[in-house]
Amino acid sequence: MNNFLSLIAEKRGLPGVLILALVLLVLFPLTMDINNLNLAGRFLAFAFVAVGIALSWGYGGMLSLGQGVFFGIGGYAMAMFLKLEASDPESTAAQTTPGIPDFMDWNQITSLPWFWEPFHSFTFTVLAILIVPTIVAALIGFALFTRRVTGVFFAIITQALVTIATILIVGQQGFTGGANGITDLRTLMGWDIRTDDALFTLYYISAVLLIGCVILGLWLLSTKYGSILTALRDREDRIRFSGYNVAYFKVFIFAVSAMMSGIGGAMFTLQVGFMSPSLIGIIPSIEFVIFAAVGGRLSLVGAVYGALIVGYAKVMFAEAYPELWLFLIGSVFIAVVMFAPYGLAGLYDKYARPHIQRFMREKGWLKDGASPTLPSASTEAK
């Protein structure tokens, strides 16, 4: 454990994580009412995906436009568990077949499909949320990366995967709830998730898990593995010639990012009370990338801020000036890509950080030589 913490501390990140924890765990709950906090919780659920994207794209060079698939797997797994709990035989007594979810009854399905059965178990559900996205991503990654599908091609293929997933979910409505999704989720093992207290607790769980994911990511990057990964993004061929099997590194980081997305999806379902295909389609999947890009593709902490800032900007600005919202977000996006490719984190490193460090040195808070820097902010992303 000591070793673990020192690894983070030596590299960049620990102060950033601490500040993030302070913001999420203290500042937000103190200053926001439960509605806004719930909103923030939703954005944090997206932030899981954004952190995963920062890892796989920023460090691994794999831009996935298909993270919605993994977000969806996590979200749907959780929704299936909650839906089964909400569909006990008493509350569904009016149905032709009591005890199955209402939308199945409407679609003349008379018994629970086999792949729904295990979702009666919470343990299984949690395992599914963590493992299924990981395995799916590993399989996709394995198939694509061992064939050296890279960059743009990877992006387009993952986008096609999202299209397939959406068409299937919408089309197979008897099994999936179709376009309406799985709705009206009420309790988690008897605990009403719609009350203010529950939303408050769920917010904290999301925030803590998210910080955990950020720390996990930073730790991964601080290991030898992380250095290889970064090197790989910048000069894949050299790493390959050095005798590493490049594909496995990529598969691994892609699977980790998928797992994070899955957790995000599950937390989203819990906080919103439903899951639907419109949340995992092409546009949401690109929005996840937007969060990471605005926050700074090389900064895991930045990705969290990216999700929060874009999310809030959307709510505030779209409310006040709905006609201008697309202009704003479109321009911000272009501006970020053109003028601040490393996003807010990059801007911070370039403009704010030197001042802060000088200030800290003057105060004697920071020793010379211990100044952490982003590893690759000076190199161009490929």
Partner: protein, 418 residues
């Protein structure tokens, strides 16, 4: 929405308000426009945003995003109805104050805005939602916070919430009468069912198939669904042609609907050669499809802009004065217009804004001045209404060729059709 519609001139607003009392006088009788106000404490025991002069009502639709195309008309109709009610003195002496929220074509946003409307603004009622998915998303919030929603869109049924009034048709109200009409008037014996691949068309076609096969004794020769957003219908049209149905029964929506009609027409299956009845084509859609591409096809709705009666004449006139001469009014827009009026009547009957009392007072309400004609609230929270069949003209309006003789009972959970 085109922005200039937002900036209406003061004069047109005044004019439309002047028109309102005339139109509404029949509803109210002479009793109570200037009647003494009841005390706020009596009519609001549940902490709603009602004071001595105002009552807050939420309008919740997508003002942005892909659904804004469809939901614009509903916002306009609801706003118009509320302005007219205010011009007549409001409800129980209270003017309605509109709180407009944007669902942004995003279902979680709909849920979140509903929560905000109910908990922060304490609105007495919400007029809103358009897609089934958005309604499903807000439903748990409504039931938990005990809100009241007036939902305007025709939809698949299979739902009946104490907190929702459905001012559009549920599926059987559109389907059964239109199939009977095709069977009897047009002699259709074989049917081809076509829809977009999601819940409303699939539920609709399920009911249609049962009615055709079990009740009418006809034959369904094909059933096809296209993914939402699908734009190439060549193969589907060939499948249809191969089966030679007497009638095509369609529920394709959105951009696909435009492509479907345009390609059907180009393939020679136009209104003159092929009997086609659509459940998802209103005046709004025809704008995008183009009148020449639907000419001669039929739609089954409860309302067409061209319905001839005094109520509708006044409504269309007021709507155009308020929102511009070029406005078209589709079925859902009219249904959205009913929401505020039905709510007003229920509140006045209950003598209270409290949600339970309003809901309890609603069944049996009769609204004689509805543009579609007389409607009645059923105890299952849907409306008794007529089914009409319109034949599209080139100018984008429909000739009403059939009107069910009686009001049709809403039946969201149709026995034998599931």
């Amino acid at each position: 929405m085109s922005d200039n519609k937002e900036f209406f001139s003061r004069r047109t607003l005044l004019k439309s308000m002047m028109a309102a009392p005339i139109m509404a006088s029949g509803v109210m009788g002479s009793r109570q426009v200037m009647a003494a106000k009841p005390a706020t404490s009596e009519i609001n025991t549940t902490g709603l945003a009602v004071d001595d002069d105002t009552v807050k009502v939420g309008i919740l639709h997508s003002l942005t995003g892909t659904m804004a195309i469809s939901e614009t008309g509903s916002v306009e109709a609801e706003t118009l109805a509320i302005e007219q009610i205010n011009a007549m003195g409001g409800i129980l002496g209270r003017k309605i104050e509109i709180i407009k929220e944007d669902g942004a074509s995003d279902w979680p946003t709909f849920a979140q805005r509903t929560r905000k409307l109910l908990r922060e603004d304490n609105v007495a009622a919400i007029m809103g939602c358009w897609t089934s998915a958005s309604r499903k998303a807000v439903l748990p919030v409504l039931e938990k916070e005990n809100g009241l929603l007036y939902y305007p869109t025709f939809y698949e049924g299979l739902e009946q919430s104490p907190n929702v009034f459905y001012t559009g048709q549920e599926a059987t109200q559109q389907i059964l009468a239109s199939l009977d009409w095709l069977w009897e008037e047009k002699g259709a014996r074989t049917f081809y069912l076509v829809g977009s691949d999601y819940i409303w068309p699939r539920t609709t076609m399920k009911i249609a198939r049962i009615h055709i096969e079990k009740v009418l004794g006809g034959k369904v020769v094909g059933e096809d669904y296209a993914p939402l957003g699908h734009t190439s219908f060549g193969s589907m049209i060939n499948r249809i042609r191969l089966r030679r149905p007497d009638a095509i029964y369609g529920a394709v929506v959105g951009g696909s609907n435009v492509a479907f009609f345009r390609q059907l027409n180009a393939a020679g299956l136009n209104g003159n050669r092929q009997l086609l009845l659509s459940l998802a084509t209103t005046e709004d859609e025809v704008l995008g499809i183009g009148g020449e591409n639907v000419e001669g096809c039929y739609s089954a709705m409860k309302y067409f802009q061209s319905i001839e009666n005094d109520n509708n004449e006044e409504f269309v006139k007021a709507f155009k004065e308020r929102w511009g001469e070029d406005s078209v009014i589709g079925d859902v827009t009219q249904a959205a217009y009913l929401g505020p009026w039905l709510w007003k009547m229920a509140v006045e009957k209950a003598g209270s804004f409290d949600v339970e009392k309003v809901a309890a007072a609603s069944p049996g309400l009769e609204f004689k001045k509805a543009p579609e004609g007389y409607v009645k609230v059923h105890k299952n929270h849907h409306l008794w209404s007529k089914t009409r069949i319109g034949k599209w003209r080139k100018d984008g309006q429909a000739d009403v060729v059939y009107e069910s003789p009686e009001l049709i009972e809403p039946n969201p959970f149709p026995e034998g059709y599931q």
